[in-house]
Structure formats: C-alpha cells, structure tokens
Symmetry: C2
Subunit: 235 residues, 2 copies
C-alpha cells in the first residue's frame, strides 16, 4: 500500500511534502499480518572481541564479532518517490509500542491474550539507513532495504541495535529527513521530515515463535530457512 501520512502533513518543507513511500513485499507482509506477525528478539550474547588467528597472523586488528541479534523477516523495504533529486536526505526507522499491554500466547485457542501492563519501555533507539545521507536521486533509484536492522531484547546492548520488549506489540515507523543546509536549520526541524507507518508491518516481539503457522510461513518464505522445508516444490 502507499504512504500513511506523518502527523501534521501541513507546514512541511517543500523538500519532503511530496515524499511518498510504497511498501515492498506488500502481499507477504499482509500474509504474515493476517496470522499475527512475530519477530524474534534475542540477547546479543556479547561475544568477546574476535581475533580469528587468521587476522592475527596477518597483523590485522581485532573487530567486534557479528552479534547474535536477529534481522526482521520480512525485511522492511520501500520504494521512494517525490524527493528532490539533488537534495540530501537521511532515512531512518524506529519502533513504537502499539499499546501498553503485555501479552501471552494461549496455545489452546491459538491466540494472543493481554496479560497485564507493559513493562517499562526499552531505551528508544533509531536505526539510520547505512547509506545516509544521500541524494534524493540515489534513494529513488532503487528499492531502499533495511536489511541491516537488527532487533534485540538486551537492554544493555551497545551495538546500536533496536531494543524491544518481548511479548509486546510494535509498529515500525519510517522517516525521511531532509538535510537542511541553512545555518539555523534546527528552527525548522519539525518541518524537515516526513514519517510513514504501514499497519501491515506491525508485529509481536518474541524470543521464540508461538504461533506455529507463523513459523511455517517464515520457513516457507525466508531463503535462509530453506533447510527446514518439507519437500514440496514451488515454482
């Protein structure tokens, strides 16, 4: 579907007021949403600094090992239009709680039940698209994919990942921010961005899948889970 408008679409800078975003993989998102999308959040384990021996032999420096956090699937991807091709933009995402409830999954009825009030909100973080900043022309040239975005339930995470509470519901949000070259651009900050929310991308954060139909749809549609597919060939 197309663009949910940001709050207060009026009074926007001309560089963002015509911006539009189309969610990619819309039919897949909707398929998940009908079942109740779940996204895995795991603790980042905080492996020690890695120095693989190979690298050590070569005289390189150690680097942080890949975290154990999980990506989203489906991946949040949008096709942008209406940007100024020559202006600079920053693209980013955040996640807002959909309510102040905590949930549990009732296996007997295969449904989610409210189970008390939400836990204290995790530190609010944003994920900047790693190509930011870039010209409008470059953002519009192809699909923008947030496949580097990772979710964790580790409140102490220091890798900059998105921190979410398990068993809570979230709405991903997408923001287009015009990089205002004016000296006093702070004064116009509220005019220089436009936000998009796609209701079909909301999800429940979990540490393990609860709904078996979600598990099966993940296995069927995520290429990295091919090892768990039964032998039913698909064209």
């Amino acid at each position: 579907g197309w663009a949910g408008e940001g709050p207060g679409a009026s009074g926007k800078n001309r560089h963002v007021c015509h911006a539009a975003a189309r969610l990619e993989m819309g039919s897949l998102w909707e398929e998940f949403n009908r079942l109740g999308t779940e996204m895995i959040v795991t603790k980042a384990g905080r492996w020690e600094l890695e120095w693989p021996g190979e690298l050590q032999r070569l005289g390189g420096t150690p680097f942080p090992s890949p975290s154990l956090c999980r990506r989203m699937f489906p991946t949040f991807q949008v096709k942008l239009s209406g940007l100024d091709p020559l202006a600079d933009y920053v693209l980013l995402m955040d996640f807002i709680p959909l309510d102040d409830k905590r949930y549990r999954y009732a296996f007997h009825s295969s449904s989610w039940l409210a189970a008390g009030r939400a836990e204290p909100a995790a530190p609010g973080r944003v994920h900047f698209h790693p190509d930011s900043p870039a010209k409008g022309a470059q953002w519009m040239r192809q699909i923008v994919s947030f496949d580097k975005l990772k979710l964790t339930n580790n409140l102490l995470d220091d890798n900059g990942h998105i921190i979410l509470n398990s068993m809570h519901r979230y709405q991903p949000r997408f923001h287009v921010v015009f990089v205002d070259p004016r000296r006093d651009s702070e004064r116009f900050a509220h005019q220089n961005f436009k936000s998009f929310s796609f209701p079909e991308t909301q999800f429940m954060a979990v540490t393990a899948y609860q709904n078996h139909r979600i598990t099966q749809l993940k296995i069927a549609s995520n290429p990295f889970a091919k090892g768990f597919r039964d032998g039913d060939p698909e064209p």
Copy 2:
C-alpha cells in the same frame, strides 16, 4: 611505511596538506613484494540477470549477479590522519602502469622477462570507496579498507571494475579528495586532493599465478584459500 607524497605537495588546500596515510598489513605486502606480487584478473563472464526463484516467489525484483572478477590480496588498507574531522572527503584508488612493457614468466629461471611493448592501456578507471563522501572524523576513526575493489581484464566491463592488462605491471594509487563547498570549487580542484603511492603494493596482473612461491604465500595468508593448505599448523 608512511605516505608517499603526491605530486606538488605545495599549494595544497589546508584540508588536505596535512593528510597522511599509513599502509596496513605492511609486512605482508613486503613479503609478497620480495617475491614479486601477482594479482589475478579474470573476465567478468557477464552472467545473465539472476532471479533466484526465492526472490521471485517473494515478489522481489531481479538484480545483477555477483561478477566473477577477483579482489586484490592482500587487500589495500590504510590508516588516515591529518584530516579535518568536520570536512567531507572522497577516497578513491586508481592503477597506473609501471612501465610500457609486456612481460612473460620464465619458469626455468623463475623470473619475469620483458617481452615487448605494452598493449594499449585499458580504459582508465577509478574506484571510489563506497563510504564516500564522509567526514574526516569517520575516515580517521578506523582502518579504511578497499575490499570491494575488483580487478578484471574485460575491456567491455560495465560493472565499474578496474580494468587491467594481464602480464603488465601496475602501481596502485590512493587519493584523498576534499569536497570543496565553494561554488567555484572547480578552480581549486588541483589543490583539493592528495595522492599516496606505496611501492610495496606494486604488482603484476596475471590470469593465473606464474610464480609458485606467490601461490603458496597466497594460500598461506588468504583465509579464503584455507582449503589448499597442507596440514602445518600455525599459531
């Protein structure tokens, strides 16, 4: 080693005149250079557009498959200093012929012999570091690695790879370019960059390794070639 100065170090813009670059993995480069470094260049094969079936099922769009070109090993990596932390810089590399000769390898003497004049120079291309442009602070924060740079001998390559003639010698060059915000910045273009050449990184372009000791050093030091190592454990 440290920085070979660019041509005409005088009259440089203050944003680049103090720039310095230290080559990483220097001892490995020197070990290769003592034997006569060789780098593989292969034709990019130009596979058809890939549409893996996975992606098709998910409603995605096809994308060009990875090319068959080869990276450099060792990878060209530098540690930068002396940049203005708040200024924008573009980093790039190019490759200049070391002479106008063509070579062949004499197996009986295990040495390279001149074998006529160079073939017409391939189209001169540059490789921009994919993080460009970025602030000086970000470039100086950690080692800058050109591991996405790929070499090909395909004169018709349209993936933007570096085109080299096999059996010719080359000197990699590294350039730091200050992004001048002045309107008439073209007038100062010659002042706004600084170039670095590390003699220990020069190499012979080949389609297959000629010197067996180079092959063995590549196998011993490149993690991706571990499958060809004999069972001699290294700490």
